[in-house]
């Protein structure tokens, strides 16, 4: 562990980590890839706002409305700077990453749209990959069904990498949009954005990144990445539920048709027509998740104060240790890269002859070790590997090597139970 990174101090910020589970088990939370825990700093900001400063945003001219508006818009500033957005107006608050992905999908092939880049019909193609989360698959399937466009995808190699061998056949002049994960929520794989983007640019396609698993865990700079759209979600980044983020280049937000209609997203409304507010408000219909955005602002403040480089280094140390220790468990097979290059702090595996549901339940029941079991909303990826499910341990800034030891002890016990 790096010396300046004091994980014990960090753990004190997360109230739940001191919780005793029924039966006196301590909690070993290795499910942050599913959803992260929240520091007191975030919880307290939300409580204080709800208790003493809450009013609706944008519309109100009184003290409470002004305080909420200021805090809400300040959260936008914080998030913009956290991901290196060239402008705060490029940050659209959604309810989660899934809404952000759907928002972009609904911009295509919409009869209201007039921009050629977002026109879509039979003959046009959408490219995703076999390692995507369902939230980066189903919106595009629905889009293809609405418009008659064709959905295509990258396959995944045995090592759990994006198979780019047919990049040029897959991404072609027919491609309108490429949308892939920045980091896989199952394999831990970090995808080679630059190579795919270069090809997308060559053929004039737009490119979206599902950064749900990268933004919480390492420095992400949208300008440096150079893509067109990026989605992530608050609850995986030490923030509350109910808040997600779409970042998109200002010029694209302007070109896209509105998605949800309602209060706040308009400029002027007549019965028979409306004009729309400039982005980001154009895409924030209705009362937004005010306190949730404020909570996310506190979360990125918290993460930035710890340091994203330091968090990434800490997780790299954890995953190195985990791969080494898990490698010693008989019958255990890691699904995904077993080296440290281009991979994050998520390790999925199978245990020979034992179903992940049984693994997860016994780890929880007897050791208080919380992992995720199943297909992790990435069923096609599991189909690709010919397995119905895996067990997944995913790490965050508050995890320790001792927790990995607890996981490994638990796995040995699981093997004994089902021997």
């Amino acid at each position: 562990m790096s010396t300046e990174f004091d994980v014990e101090r960090i753990r004190k910020d997360f109230p739940v980590l001191s919780r005793e589970l029924p039966g006196g088990r301590p909690l070993v939370y290795l499910d942050s890839g599913n959803s992260s825990q929240k520091p007191a700093q975030v919880i307290e900001v939300m409580r204080e706002h709800l208790s003493m400063h809450y009013g609706n945003v944008g519309r109100a001219m009184h003290v409470l409305g002004a305080e909420s508006t200021e805090a809400y818009e300040a959260a936008r500033d914080k998030v913009a700077s956290f991901v290196g957005a060239p402008s705060r107006d490029e940050i659209v608050f959604t309810k989660n990453a899934s809404e952000a992905l759907n928002l972009v999908a609904y911009a295509f092939g919409n009869p209201i749209n007039e921009d050629p880049r977002f026109m879509m019909g039979p003959g046009d193609e959408i490219v995703i990959s076999e390692m995507e989360h369902h939230s980066n698959i189903v919106p595009w399937q629905l889009l293809a069904r609405r418009t008659g466009a064709t959905l295509r995808w990258f396959s995944v190699t045995d090592e759990g990498r994006l198979d780019l061998s047919n990049l040029d056949e897959l991404v072609t002049e027919r491609t309108k949009i490429v949308s892939i994960a920045h980091q896989s929520n199952v394999l831990g794989t970090v995808n080679p954005v630059a190579r795919v983007l270069a090809r997308a640019r060559q053929v004039g396609a737009l490119m979206m990144l599902d950064a749900s698993q990268s933004v919480p865990h390492k420095p992400v700079d949208v300008a440096a990445l150079g893509v067109d759209f990026l989605a992530f979600t608050g609850h995986k980044a030490a923030g509350p539920s109910g808040i997600g983020v779409l970042w998109a280049r200002a010029e694209l937000l302007e070109a896209m048709p509105p998605f949800l209609g309602g209060g706040e997203m308009i400029e002027a409304v007549w019965m028979d027509r409306s004009t729309y507010a400039p982005a980001p408000h154009k895409f924030e219909a209705g009362t937004p998740p005010i306190v949730e955005a404020i909570g996310l602002g506190a979360a990125v403040d918290y993460l930035a104060s710890v340091g994203m480089e330091a968090i990434a280094a800490h997780e790299r140390e954890l995953v190195r240790y985990a791969l080494q220790e898990l490698g010693e468990v008989p019958g255990l097979k890691v699904v995904g890269p077993t080296g440290l290059e281009d991979r994050g702090g998520t390790v999925s595996f199978t245990l020979e002859g034992i179903h992940p549901h049984d693994v997860g339940q016994i780890l929880d029941d007897e050791f208080g070790v919380a992992v995720r079991v199943g297909h992790h909303c990435a069923r096609p990826l599991h189909l690709r590997f010919g397995i119905p499910a895996t067990t997944r341990a995913s790490f965050y800034l508050y995890n320790t090597p001792a927790e990995i030891d607890a996981l490994v002890r638990g796995l040995h016990h699981v093997r004994k139970v089902f021997a």
């Binding site: 179903h355 549901h357 049984d358 339940q361 029941d365 297909h375 119905p388 499910a389 139970v417 089902f418």
Partner: protein
């Protein structure tokens, strides 16, 4: 009577040594059921003889210990009973599983299947326990038609 842990000795025993596993002839109906959320699956055949007696329940499948043990216990409880008797067990088992751990099981009806009572407290696992039983119910209905 409701167990602390889900993993009763009896469940583990049936999982490790499944009874009546394998698909056999003759049969009146064959069904294939899948639990799409977790991928558990089962193929089940039922042979009903004269007088509505269940002569054989044969099956094959894959999944967690709960779903596999449930199929094995089901094989034992149903083979040799009459169809109405077995449907009463299905009904009581379903009631137990959907009771969120609040239902007092009827041991006289359930026999060994009472060992699954602990599963009812884990909503995510209830479907595993029910997979074989739902398949059985389906197969019996088809065998009658």
């Amino acid at each position: 009577m409701i167990a602390e842990s889900m993993y009763q000795e009896l469940i583990l025993e049936h999982y490790k040594h499944p009874q009546g596993r394998g698909l056999r002839d003759p049969f009146d109906a064959e069904v294939h059921h899948v639990n799409p959320t977790c991928g558990d699956e089962i193929t089940m055949r039922v042979k009903v003889g004269d007088g509505g007696k269940v002569e054989d329940v044969s099956y094959d499948g894959q999944g967690c210990s709960i779903s596999q043990a449930a199929a094995s216990v089901l094989h034992e409880l149903t083979t040799g009973s009459t169809v109405p008797e077995t449907l009463a067990v299905v009904e009581e088992f379903t009631r137990l599983m959907q009771g969120r751990g609040q239902v007092e099981p009827d041991e006289d009806v359930l026999g060994d299947a009472v060992a699954f009572a602990g599963v009812a407290k884990f909503p995510a696992r209830v479907k595993c326990a029910l997979l074989a039983w739902m398949a059985y119910k389906d197969a019996v209905v088809r065998s009658a038609s």
